[in-house]
Amino acid sequence: MIDKKWIGHELPTSVLPIERSRLQFFAKAIGETDPVYTDIVAARNAGYPDLPAPATFLFAAELDSGASDRLLADLQIPIAKLLHGEQSFTYHKAACVGDTVSVQSRITDIYDKKNGALEFVVKTSRATNQRNELVAELRSVIVCRH
């Protein structure tokens, strides 16, 4: 069982610089064809200062930093048992190339279902930019299946 003492645990802040080549790579990987995500002229014509981060891109922050791996290790969830249950984003402000986004998360709930056969960890995050403006709020539900 995952120790409920982790409820309230704050993860170290993950800092993600938004870089053009990374966004272009991400666009290629998801088959994105809208030039606003790959072409700076199209992005500027759409009113952005540079390429915007796609809607789900900020999830990369805690993967890049290692905070996600560290959390799984702390909670003793092996990757073979890990499932992504739910993911939510609430958007406040665009993140574009040149911005540096900081993601700060805490564990807000841990519970189980089916007599412990499935355990759930809820993580909520705030993503802010270099001007300390709120960019997005994220909520993840991680599932450990036994």
């Binding site: 990374r22 790579f25 991400f26 290629k28 990987a29 998801i30 088959g31 994105e32 809208d34 606003v36 759409a46 009113g47 915007p52 796609p54 809607a55 789900t56 999830f59 990369a60 993967l63 890049d64 990757i79 073979a80 890990l82 499932l83 992504h84 249950g85 739910e86 993911q87 939510s88 984003f89 609430t90 958007y91 665009a94």
Partner: protein, 139 residues
Amino acid sequence: MNPPTFDTVQVGDQLPVLQLPPVDRTTLALFAGASGDHNPIHIDTDVARRAGMPDVFAQGMLGMAWLARLITGWVPQRQLRRFDARFQGITQLGNAIRCSGHVVEKLEHQGERCVRVELRSENQFGQAKIVGEALVALP
């Protein structure tokens, strides 16, 4: 197609469907690198089999990124206020994912005219992979 506006959009309206090609190993490898999700269960068959899976399978966030493409193919991303996904099933190699959505409610949210859209991604056999919801502001 004219950009959707609050007055022209009606409950029940369908978003233009986004049909993806079948998932292959290259797609998973590229997404691993681009997304930062280096979990080998998605890119290394040996690791997937040791975990009891028949083979590598798609990252959940790849499916969510495709659903985001469905939304931003309909309205500019700056109009997206909220995006929720519940992962329903594993997307296997060879699955050709179809993303669809329809308007279920017109509402005012924090002083803005918005619509609530129900989202679904499924494979070619009609099995749900993600169900979700988006809140979109419309001019």
